[in-house]
């Protein structure tokens, strides 16, 4: 991996949360030893079931949480390194890394007008010299995300879910970032609106060259928007590969069952396809199985799986898999 090529590099990132259990404090290993990298203008899709730590990854990257260990390099600059004790002030980097949230209802302050919501990042980073310039910037941002400029003085709760998500995107774009974490940005939207927002993300990427970390649980949407896809399970990275490669040749047994579980909106395919039904539930992250966390539900599990977490190895064509048996 050459240093120049990547916009964001994450190495051995760990994020533990202390959980009180009676009088003891036990670590909840939300993210445990994750590494990945994103090129400028690329989209990395991050999929997994609820509680697998995908949202935590996004928030830790933006330093909404203090990482437990690991190394984060953004645009050639080390933002965090637990070994070298580097921990820079994030304020200037907030202009380059932004986030779009899942819930278009709770992610916008109900007491603020659209103009103030989009204007807030401009105020914080002092990105204008006059009131007029601020307003022009806000209006042009609203136009970029397909909102009617007449609505600038309206309150967020007057808009529908899709429009609110556009406001959230405009807020993220206000600082002209190079990288946006999209935390399930379409899951809360209606089917007919999802496509509008997905298309907008794609168009913005073409126009502005931003890179995305696109977190979602809907595999079809992730496949559609992503260049590469990473699959997480209980805080661990299971597989990471190019989007088409991952869909056509999934290697990890978890990815396989995840893909087969997706209901395909096509009756003929749905009738023919055989779902690989996973037995049981995801274990609690507080009672993580030893070794590979997936082994309790995996039909290929062997003794070795219980002993040691398999390393993420390249199976050719930048297709990385963490599995002893496949």
């Amino acid at each position: 991996m050459s240093e120049e090529k990547y916009l964001l590099e994450v190495e051995h990132l760990k994020q533990y949360f202390p959980i009180k259990e009676g009088f003891r404090t036990v670590p909840l290993k939300a993210v445990d030893d994750i590494s990945f990298a994103i090129k400028p203008g690329e989209t990395l899709g991050l999929v997994g079931e609820s509680g697998c730590g995908k949202t935590t990854v996004g928030r830790t990257l933006l330093r909404l949480y203090q990482p437990t260990a690991g190394r984060i390099v953004f645009d050639g600059e080390v933002l965090f390194d637990s070994e070298k004790k580097i921990d820079v002030d994030m304020h200037p980097y907030r202009k380059q890394m932004q986030m779009v949230f899942q819930d278009p209802y709770s992610s916008l302050d109900p007491r603020m007008t659209v103009e103030d919501i989009i204007g807030e990042p401009l105020d914080v980073h002092k990105l204008y010299s006059s009131k007029g310039e601020r307003r022009d910037k806000i209006l042009s941002l609203m136009e970029t995300v397909g909102l009617n400029a007449e609505h600038a003085m309206r309150y967020a709760h007057e808009f529908s879910g899709g429009q609110r998500q556009r406001i959230g995107i405009a807020r993220a774009l206000a600082v002209d970032p190079k990288f946006i974490v999209c935390d399930e940005p379409v899951s809360a939207l209606d089917v007919s609106i999802q496509a509008q927002v997905v298309n907008m993300f794609e168009e913005l990427q073409e126009k502005l060259g931003v890179a995305y970390l696109f977190i979602a649980h809907d595999l079809l949407v992730v496949h559609h928007i992503s260049d590469r896809i990473a699959v997480m399970y209980l805080g661990h990275m299971m597989e990471i590969a190019d989007a088409d490669d991952l869909n056509n040749n999934p290697i990890h047994p978890y990815t396989l069952s995840l893909l087969s579980a997706v209901p395909i909106p096509d009756p003929n395919i749905a009738r023919k396809s055989q779902r690989i039904i996973l037995e049981g539930d995801v274990p609690s992250p507080l009672k993580m199985p030893s070794g590979c966390p997936f082994r309790t539900r995996c039909r290929y599990a062997t003794e070795q799986c219980a002993k040691e977490m398999p390393p993420l190895t390249d199976r050719g064509n930048r297709h990385f898999v963490a599995c002893w048996n496949k």
Partner: protein
């Protein structure tokens, strides 16, 4: 092909095509489509809440009652020629016979004066008290004192509560833990005892220093009550605000503000507090009657404002002596306390119903 033919014949059996003309099937313009899809009128959170409040007859009635009371206590002293601390005098001479008059009654001296000069004296609407002071004006001043005590105390409580509660709630962790334990300790102190203790101490030490200021009019009891409100009564407010902030803090818009790089203080001021505002307004409205009650209660125990100033509670206390002969003097202040407290409570409930709803 056959299939489509079949479909067509099936369809044409159901549709009478002669009803239609090609104009029906022209494409609609974007303009026409947009007309169908208009956004509702812009409403702010407050407009929306006020709309709901206006539909609540109890709350609106309370507002009318409160407005009337406030109007009367502002205007009445300018019209009524008597003052709360003066015994009625006719022609500059104290009228000894004017004590304990009934509603709209005049004393003998006053009747005589009116007969002699042909001039009409202002009636004693509620009569006079045992010292010969006009009772109506005393009630007006009593209401003034009670209401202002209530409002000032409520504002004190709310201000301290907001600052304390928001710091504890927003920063959380150890800060919260320590601050909330202090609250628990304060909760366990007996408030009445402290009011009495402080007022005794103040009376002895401050009486001289206060002479001539506004405070001397209110008396040591009132000051100690304010001090106790400031020291003790804000705790429930602080708890409430803290709880609100803990919920609001978890909203994604707070996270979004942190993502943008907004500072903590600004997040508190711009995002969190405005969203607690409805709760703050509602509890303030409910805090006022509780302060009025406390004051009345203390006054009734003889710990209220100093004579000759009156509050509704002290009026009721004074009336206790002549309760058998002059029950109206007890009933009037009692009814006014009830009216104010009931109206504020109903208004508070109305405000809660109107503003404390989830935005959808």
């Amino acid at each position: 092909m056959e299939n489509t033919e079949m479909k067509k014949s099936l369809l044409s059996a159901q549709v009478d095509l002669s009803k239609f003309s090609s104009a029906n099937f022209e494409k609609a313009t974007d303009e026409e489509k947009r007309q169908q899809d208009v956004m509702g009128e812009s409403t702010t959170f407050f407009k929306d809440g006020m709309r709901r409040l206006r539909k609540n007859p109890l709350a609106m009635g309370s507002i009318v009652v409160l407005a009337l009371i406030i109007l009367i206590i502002i205007i009445a002293p300018h019209i009524v020629p008597y003052s709360y601390d003066q015994i009625i005098s006719v022609n500059g001479v104290r009228d000894k016979g004017s004590a304990n008059l009934g509603f709209f009654m005049y004393s003998d001296r006053e009747l005589q004066y009116m007969r002699e000069t042909g001039e009409d004296l202002f009636p004693h609407i509620f009569g006079t008290d045992s010292l010969g002071r006009d009772y109506f004006i005393r009630v007006i001043y009593g209401t003034r004192v009670s209401l202002s005590v209530g409002i000032i105390a409520a504002i004190m409580v709310v201000l301290i509560g907001i600052i304390y509660g928001s710091i504890a709630g927003y920063f959380g962790g150890k800060v919260d833990l320590i601050m909330m334990r202090i609250v628990d300790i304060i909760y366990s102190l007996p408030d009445m005892l402290i009011i009495i203790l402080i007022s005794v101490v103040l009376k002895e030490n401050l009486a001289g220093k206060l002479a001539g200021t506004v405070f001397s009019k209110l008396g040591a009891n009132m000051i100690s009550m304010f001090i106790v409100f400031g020291l003790l009564y804000w705790v429930s407010m602080a708890r409430l605000i803290r709880g609100q902030i803990l919920t609001i803090k978890n909203n994604e818009y707070v996270l979004a503000a942190r993502c943008i790089g907004t500072s903590n203080g600004k997040i508190l001021r711009k995002h969190i507090l405005p969203n607690c505002l409805s709760v703050i307004i509602i509890t303030t409205a409910l805090q006022i009657p509780s302060a009025i009650f406390t004051e009345s209660y203390l006054a009734f125990l003889g710990l209220g404002v100093s004579e000759p100033l009156s509050s509704l509670g002290s009026l009721a206390n004074d009336a206790r002596a002549g309760m058998q002969s002059y029950p109206a003097r007890l009933v009037i202040p009692a009814v006014i306390i009830c009216l104010i407290v009931l109206a504020l409570n109903l208004l508070g409930d109305g405000l809660r119903d109107a503003f404390d709803t989830k935005l959808d």
